[in-house]
Symmetry: C4
Subunit: 191 residues, 4 copies
C-alpha cells in the first residue's frame, strides 16, 4: 500500500484545521488600538495552535516521504492522530476565553501529549512496515526530540495547576524546538 | 475513466466533514471538571461520527484502489454517498442536544442506512465497470459485512423508539465491526 | 500549461462549498415530526444547491479531462466561475428563510446564469488553447444543452416576479437536464 | 525535495480561505433591493479579498511550477505566507463592519504587506535552492512588480489615516496590476 492518498487526506484535514482556527478569530470590537489589544490573547493562542499544526504537517510530510510502504495499522494511527489534532480548534477557543485558568491550560497539554503519542505510534507502524534497515528507521533513530517533547508536555500539564504561564512557556519551548529544521531527515536525504 | 479525481474530490469532502464536526464542538462553559463533564455527550457523539466518516474514507480508499475503471453511474452513486455523509454534521448537532429522544436517534440510523445503501450501489457500479472477474469483484465477494451493517442499522432505527440507547449500542457495534481491518482486501493485495 | 493543479484547486473549492452548504443546515428545534417538517424547505434548497454544485464539478471534470492545454485566460475564467459558485451558500441561506419572495428566487437564478456564462467562457478559452480540431472542441460542439440552460435561467429570473415557484420549477428542470449523463463526452471517450 | 505536497497543502489552505470568505457573507435582511444594497459594502470587500487570495494562488502556482527543488527554508516561508493569508477572512469581517475607519483599512494593508514580504522570501529561498541560472531566477528577474506592490501597500497604510478610501484605491490598484497575466512566466514557458 502506497502512502499517497493518506498524505492527501491528512493534508486536507490539517489545512482545514488551520483555517478553522483562523475562522474562529474575531474582528476587534471597535476601530482603535485598545480594541485590537483586546484581541491579542486570542491571536497569540491562534499563533501557538497554527505553529503546532504546522509542525505536525511538516513532520508528517517528512515521515511519509521517508516511508515506502504502510500497513492497515498506519491508517488507524493516522486517523487517531488526526482526531486529536481536530480537537485543537475547540481547545484554542477555550484557551482564548479562559487562558488564565489551570484546567484549559492542562487540557491543551494533554491533547498535545496524546497527539504526540499517536504520531509516535504512526512512526512505529511505518518502521515495522518498512523494516529496521529502512530509510525511515535510520532517520528516526532513538527519537530524542520526540521523547523530550512528550516529557515537556507532561511537565506542562502538571505545572498548569501551579501557574498556567509555566505550562504555556513549556508548550512554546516545544514549538521552538521543532521549528529548527530536523537535521535527521536532512542528513538522510543527503545520503 | 480513471478513479483519481473522484478519489481526490471525495477525500476533500470527507476531510471537511470531519473538521466541521470538530468545529461544532463547543468549549466548556467554565474552567472546572463539571463544565468539562457537561460537554461529554457532545464529545461522544462527535467520536461516533468521526469514526463513522473515518470508516467510510477507509473503505472508499480500498474500493477505489481495487478498481481500475469507473462509469458515469459510479460518479452519481459517489455524489449520492457524499450527500448522505454531508448530513452527518447536522445530525451530530441534533444528537448532541437531544440524544435522549427517539426521533434523532432513529434519523441518525436512517441516514447511516441510506449511506450504506449508496456505498453498496457505488461498489456494484464499479464491479459492472470492471467485470465479474476483476480484483474488486473478487474482493467484495458476497459482502456479508455490508449486509450485516445495514441490518443492524435497520434494527437500530426501530429500536430507537423503544430506547435510544439500544440504537446507539447497535451503531457502535457496526463501527467496531468495521474498525477491525478488512481481511478481504488484505487477502487480495497479498495475492 | 497542464490542467492538473487548476483541477485540484477547483475540486477543493467545490468540495468546501458543498460542505459549507451542509454546515448551514440547522438541526430541528424539537424531537417530533413537526420539528423535522419545519426544516424541510431548508433541506430542499440544500438539495438543489448540492446538485447544482455537483453538476458543475462533474462537467468541470469532463471538460478539463478532454483538454490537454490551458491558457492564462482559462485560469481567470476558472477563478470567475468559482467566485460565482462561492456565492451559492449565502444564496441558499437567503432562499431558506425567504423562499416565498421574488427577489431571492430571481437572484439565485441570476447567479446561476452568470456561473453558466463563466463556464461557457472557460470552455471557449480551452477550445482556443487546444484548437478547433481538438477533442474538447469536437465534444462541446454547438453546446445546445448549455444554451438551453442559460435560456431557462433567464426565463426563471423574469418568472420569479410572477411567482417564485415557476422559477424553482425551471431551476429544477435545468438540474434534471444535466443529471442525465452527457452523451457528448461518452461518445468522445468511446472514439 | 519536490514541490508537490507543499503545492497541494497550500492549495487546500487557499481554497478554504476563499470559501470561508464566502461563508462570512450574510444574506440580505429582507426581500427588497434596499436590503440587498445594505450588503453591498460587505460584498465589495469580499470581492477584494477573493481577488487578493486568487492572485496569490495564481502566483504561487507559477513560482512553484518554475522551481524544481525546495529547501526547509521554503517550507517555513510558505507556512508564514499561509499564516498571513489566513488572517484575511477576519480582516474582511472587520472591514465589512468598519470600512469607514482608518485602523481597519491600515491593518488590511499591513497584512497584505507582510504577506507580500513572505512571498518574496519564499521566492528567494526557491532561487537559492535552484541556482541563479535556474528557470525561476530568470523568470523573477528584478521583480519590479513585487516591489511596486509593496510600496503601494506601504503608502496605503499611511494614507488610511488621511482617508480610508485612498487606501482602498491603492489596494485595488495592486489587485488590477496583478490581474494582467504575468508576461515573465509566459515568456519563460515559451522559451
Amino acid at each position: 500500500m502506497g502512502t499517497g492518498r493518506v498524505e492527501a487526506f491528512s493534508d486536507s484535514v490539517m489545512a482545514v484545521i488551520i483555517t478553522i482556527l483562523a475562522f474562529e478569530l474575531r474582528p476587534p470590537n471597535g476601530v482603535d488600538l485598545a480594541a485590537v489589544r483586546a484581541q491579542l490573547p486570542g491571536l497569540l493562542v491562534y499563533v501557538l495552535s497554527f505553529v503546532f499544526i504546522g509542525i505536525y504537517w511538516n513532520n508528517h510530510h517528512h515521515v511519509m516521504r521517508a516511508a515506502d510502504r504502510m500497513s492497515g495499522a498506519t491508517m488507524c494511527a493516522n486517523l487517531l492522530l488526526l482526531f486529536w489534532l481536530s480537537l485543537i480548534p475547540v481547545l484554542t477557543l477555550w484557551l482564548r476565553d479562559d487562558y488564565q485558568h489551570a484546567l484549559p491550560a492542562a487540557t491543551y497539554g494533554a491533547v498535545a501529549l496524546v497527539a504526540g503519542a499517536s504520531f509516535n505510534v504512526l512512526v512505529r507502524t511505518l518502521i515495522r512496515a518498512n523494516g529496521q534497515d529502512s530509510a525511515i528507521a535510520r532517520a528516526i533513530g532513538s527519537d530524542v526530540k520526540g521523547k523530550t517533547s512528550m516529557a515537556l508536555y507532561a511537565t506542562g500539564i502538571a505545572a498548569a495547576f501551579i501557574s498556567p504561564w509555566i505550562a504555556y512557556g513549556l508548550y512554546v519551548t516545544v514549538a521552538l524546538m521543532w521549528f529548527v529544521p530536523d537535521s535527521r531527515f536532512t542528513r538522510q536525504s543527503r545520503a
